[in-house]
Amino acid sequence: MNAHLPAIQVVLPLLAAPVCVLLQNRKVVGVWATLVAWASFAIAITMLVHTMEHGTISYALGGWESPLGIELRVDVANAFLATIVTGIASMVLPYGPGSATLAIPEDKQYLFYTAFLLCMTGLLGMSVTGDAFNVFVFVEITSLSSYTLIALGKGRRALTAAFSYLVMGTIGGTFILLAIGLCYQMTGTLNMADMALRLQPVMGTRTVLVAFGFFVVGASIKLAVFPLHQWMPNAYTHAPSVVSAFLSATATKVSYFVLVRVVFTIFGAAYVFGTVHFEWLLMPLSIAAMFVGSIAAMYQTHIKRLLAYSSMAQIGYMTLGLSMNSVEGLTGGLVHLFNHGLMKGGLFLVVANITFRLNSSKIEDMAGLARKMPWTSLAFAIGGLSLIGVPGTAGFISKWYLVQGALVKGQVWLALLILMSSLLAVGYVWKVIEVMLLKPPTDRVENTKPAPLSMIWPVWVMIGSTVVFGLWTTWTGTVAEVAAETLMGLR
């Protein structure tokens, strides 16, 4: 049974999505989608345990062995990613779209779940596939469904946000497609492992360089690497909070993984860092993202926009980890991928709670909220502390690995920059906390009441796990380390 898990992982949400259309009833569909997400989560965890113990699972679709057929290939890194995607989904789905946040009537809300499950299918597909063209297909499945999900947000700006994301995303996706074509031209194969092997003799050619360039730019658009991030703040701001929670926690993460795969699996560290010196491009951009994102976040008046810019900065940490070209750095990047997924997902859910009650995402409208919605506010505070990277929270773990990566290379200045940029997080997190804690409540806040329990528990599961994974790192640190070693070919 274990041998079939990679296929089931993708097929389950894929087939569950049309079932949503058939079921149609909003509540039934909600329960169904949640159950599917939980089942997928169980599958992902099983795969993770399996790969940790027995190594890579390879699955030949249709019985056609690689490199001829399509191969699903799950090593620790892939399973880790699938765990994140399904884990976040299983927390976000029970939350539901929160009836007030969607722009479509209730009798059409089953389509929300359909799109959500398709998005999950795409993300999982990207996580587990070993085939380059498959990556493109799943990228597009993810993108198309996420444009839809974003456009479901209340207010007309969701539409323009989704449209600009669509334009950027399509260009990114097409770049990836072009890059795959160029690689295919040079190698005659689409299997990533096989491609890596066959690229070796032709590494010096311009075609390969161009292919690498298109790959990187394509993935970077999806990942919102500075300065290709413009689509992101608008998209996350105007999407329904639940969607922001899911996409910020998973979509950019999976794109990061695609980039990592491109760098380490297809082209190899020797080429990327030895010949092309990709780090000379990526490291400054990452550092710029860390600072620009955090500083921009400080000036936002809407909490969702603030979180979106913070995401941009946090993505900077991840790409910085990649650019270090070391096990510590990549571990930091991967751990942060997980941790940031947890905390940003949790924070967006907190925001969903707040906007559900206040019907506003302006920071100034949250004055004195700590008194009226204590649990929600406390969750925000803890999530915020995790963004800052306070010890005892998950954010600290990622910072630890990244700083260690810098120090091991003797780059004290880089370590200092990482730490300084995390200080900027104090600025934008505290801006919100101060308003919630110290400002006298406005009328709007006085008349509100705490969020219903059904909306609080998923928040606390996510936020609680940032604390759990801030102390107990066996599943994150160790797995990420193994994943990093696997990706770098050391294992």
Binding site: V11, L14, A17, V19, C20, L61
Partner: protein, 151 residues
């Protein structure tokens, strides 16, 4: 202002009559492309689009209402979902019978590939037809849908 105007179309007798003649052949041709997909050029994608083109032509000439009476929007949704389920179902069936996902050989050592492919392409064809028609519905019926929302 989107979608055809049935009033003007009604006056175009030539278009109406030619369409009436052609539509069955378009649909038939779609089926031909569909079922010869494993021997010659063709397959579910192409067939689906051709089939949908026949439906769209009907809609354009005789009006959206007439088409939706023949093929209700809900049916289109169900078909779109059903096609995917057929596709996935074949894969799952092959897995249940002990093969890999979509390993048709498992059904029958000699003709398995053939049967499997036929089913798969049928699924694809149904979904593509439904999807193309759904797109047509969405755009052509937008005015009406907006009026409903406004109400």
């Amino acid at each position: 202002m989107s979608g055809p105007n049935p009033m003007r179309m009604r006056e175009m007798v030539v278009v109406r009559e030619i369409s009436r003649l052609l539509i069955p052949f378009i649909l038939l041709f779609a089926l031909y492309v569909q079922f010869h997909g494993d021997f010659g050029p063709g397959g579910g994608f192409q067939a689906g689009v051709i089939f949908a083109a026949g439906l769209v032509l009907y809609g354009l000439v005789y009006g959206l209402d007439a088409l939706q009476r023949a093929v209700p929007p809900r049916l289109i949704e169900v078909l779109a979902a059903g096609g995917v389920l057929i596709y996935g179902g074949v894969g799952v069936a092959s897995m249940v019978m002990g093969g890999q996902f979509l390993e048709y050989k498992i059904f029958d050592p000699h003709h398995g590939e053939h049967y499997g492919l036929l089913l798969i392409e049928a699924g694809v064809g149904i979904t593509v037809t439904a999807a193309m028609t759904a797109i047509f519905y969405a755009f052509a019926g937008r005015d009406r849908a907006r009026d409903e929302e406004a109400r």
